[in-house]
Symmetry: C2
Subunit: 314 residues, 2 copies
């Protein structure tokens, strides 16, 4: 039997490449590569994308492959994929939800504590010899007992809230509809929630609906003692407003895993001493990435077998 | 009324100095200062110590002050104070328990996540430009679902276990007697507990009873995937064995807030890339330090008023 042909985007780990190549004829579009550089056979043969990475997957790329019937996304967020256009052409889209929820929530808790308690600065304090030379590291900010606000109580928001529970503070959440979560306080307005809390965590999905959801007004409401944590998408925050707020002390600090224009982030971030910068690694564990790769392949296999997709988006 | 005379050790924050000087005639013994350098009046007048810092408070210093009747320690650990000798001379000792429990537990959770997920290295990855130049940060290790072992289920150990609960893994604890904690598994042997777990957290008190409690055998049992977290005292771990284990890969990594010979830690630690170093800052938040200072002063005030001490040690 002839193997179906797929197109992979950017680079995969060895433990993914091997099973993909065993099952499919694989073409690859590297980081910042152009469709026009692919061999002509790729254009005519490719039936599915194993999508991954930073680029935008728009109508132009979807239209370029006449036999394309499926886009299997590696990751839960599919905001860079033009799903509406895919649907209009009958192209199915899948993602990898659930399997990365724990990792994202873990990193959020780690970022809250690391930034509040100055873990990176404290590590530098030891390594630079400052501790031995100049004594105690400057006092930091307590975590337990703080008021936490979560923007979006989906799978990831809920996992964050559960992990915050034993820290003894109050947990508020913003969502359009009230969730089955009586232990946490539902808010219908982000700005007024930001006024109430010390730590504001963004866990909503990306995409047009949430673009610029957190702007200058919310940051002002969070205030000069406030910590903003973003592990969703760079687009959910008005980045210019955030940089201003960090530079002027409108908010105390931020912990970010996502940005506009990743990985070429705004150099203003690099000069700030009140922000913890992470390289979009919220699902970046060996354990989880292996499971994400498997789920992507399971969706591809279901598609080619004509079976129901495991985690369809459209 | 004449103010009683006290001796403070090392440096205090302004918010502590002011109320101490309002209530007492205060002499100060600076870091690495000598009793023999104090004015003669200090020797004859001092009735209480407001103790704080890294030094050893042994029989020699206690004996040097004929009117000494009380040592108020700033901190929960009093392993550097010769309490037996103080008791034999009728000198009362107090500490500041409970009020720092949250902070220590918070930092332990932060250290577990920061080290497992490489938060310090990931921050450096962004700041150095590696992300933009070389792509994704290397994959790290998942936290949720791991098996956690806690050595000592006192106030701090319990607070750590409670915070680990929502991470979905199994929690084991070592203590001589079984505690009222049916949700966690009691172990009577540290080495066999270390074999079972991925993360071993030390929260026991310091002092002669726990000196060298964690040695080469426990580290070997923890094994090449294991993470050791120490937020108790440097003395509870055989530091030479730990350095060997980190250098040879007997254990995967460590996250340490305490060491032998603080703040002049063994320079071998500084060359390792599998250890997170913190400068003994587990109670180092503004909120908690203010409460610790207040409790130290409340104990002093109770002593001079002839009232029961709030948190006596002997």
């Amino acid at each position: 039997m002839t193997k179906p042909t797929i197109l992979t985007f950017e680079s995969y780990d060895d433990w993914d490449v091997e099973p993909l190549e065993a099952a499919y004829k694989v073409y690859n579009l590297p980081y910042e590569g152009k469709v026009s550089d692919l061999p002509a056979d790729a254009i005519t043969e490719v039936e599915a994308f194993a999508f991954r990475g930073h680029g935008v997957l728009g109508a132009d790329i979807i239209n370029a492959f006449p036999k394309l019937g499926m886009i299997a996304n590696y990751g839960v967020g599919y905001d860079t994929i033009d799903v509406d256009h895919a649907s209009s052409r009958g192209v199915r889209v899948t993602n990898t939800p659930d399997v990365l929820t724990d990792d994202v929530a873990d990193l959020v808790i780690g970022m809250i504590i690391a930034q509040s308690r100055g873990i990176v600065g404290a590590s530098n304090w030891v390594h630079s010899g400052n501790w031995a030379r100049n004594g105690a590291f400057p006092l930091q900010s307590k975590v337990s007992g703080k008021r936490f606000g979560i923007v979006g109580l989906g799978r990831i928001g809920r996992a964050v809230a559960e992990r915050l529970q034993p820290f003894g503070g109050d947990v508020y959440y913003y969502s359009r509809t009230k969730k089955d979560a009586p232990q946490w306080t539902h808010c219908t307005d982000i700005v007024s929630m930001a006024e109430k809390v010390d730590v504001l965590v963004i866990t909503v999905s990306g995409g047009p609906e949430t673009a610029g959801l957190i702007g200058a007004e919310t940051l002002t409401a969070l205030g000069p003692q406030g910590l903003l944590v973003n592990a969703s998408r760079g687009t959910t925050v008005d980045e210019a407003a955030l940089l201003d707020a960090l530079e002027t002390g409108t908010i105390r600090s931020a912990a970010l895993d996502v940005y506009d224009n990743e990985p070429h982030i705004d150099p203003r971030f690099l000069t700030l001493d009140n922000v913890l910068l992470q390289p979009h690694q919220s699902s970046g564990t060996v354990e989880t990435r292996k499971i994400m790769g498997q789920l992507q392949r399971d969706n591809l296999a279901a598609y080619f077998a004509g079976k129901p997709l495991l985690t369809p988006v459209n």
